[in-house]
């Protein structure tokens, strides 16, 4: 991993079209500004990782959905 020290107001250029700027440092929190092309997805990493992990769990679905379907109907009072 490349590690760079930056002050507020300074930035990091990634390739030709991605700019990450340190906007503000306040206590334990850093505010970053990210300029990237519209087709480059930018996400908070913990949210992205949470969804990736949930997708992996979802991929291990039971072979049969009948039980889930029955539970659903019961939940609806049907």
């Amino acid at each position: 991993m490349l590690i760079l020290a930056r002050k507020a107001g300074e930035g990091i250029q990634i390739g030709d079209d991605i700019l990450v700027q340190v906007l503000e440092i306040r206590g334990r929190q850093v505010r970053l500004g990210i300029s990237a092309p519209a087709d480059t997805a930018v996400h908070r990493s913990e949210v992205y990782q949470r969804i990736a992990a949930q997708n992996r769990m979802a991929a291990a679905a039971p072979a049969d959905l009948q039980e889930a379907h029955s539970l659903w109907l019961r939940g609806r009072g049907e």
Partner: protein, 171 residues
Amino acid sequence: MQNTAEEKAQQSDILHVETSRFGKIQITTGQIVTLPKGLVGFPQQKRFVLLSHREDSPFLWLQSIDDPTLAFVVVLTAAVVPEYQIELHEEDKQELQLQDEGQCAVYGLVTIPRQDPTAMTINLLGPIVINTNKLLGKQLVLHNCCYSHRHPLLAPDNGRSQKACCRITAK
């Protein structure tokens, strides 16, 4: 000759797909849902088909066409939380070739724990939006959203206690 050409066109439309759950299934190319970027964590699998569990069931399989073992269970988010709304950015709309928001269906991936199916959840933080005309889809990663990636599917007060917090807006 014309009939033969038509027959050939129809034949080329039919696709036999190997699946680990359903064996070999027959679909038409018109049923293929393409997710150009795949799902989060599964970028390689881009072509899927939606298969209903049963006609009277909200559960569907999102079966990969390219990986026989990869299938997800999905439910329309509206079936669980009727007022669920998402924010679609202009980039999302372009990616989905979406002109009219009425064209899209929003699904949530369902996680069913094998030991305890009663604890099944739906992911409302990373919904899958599908343009139902073009059959183009995308999994969104929502920002500033109050919904959970593990929203209980069987909660008795689903849809009543939660207020809509994300709106469809063009940016």
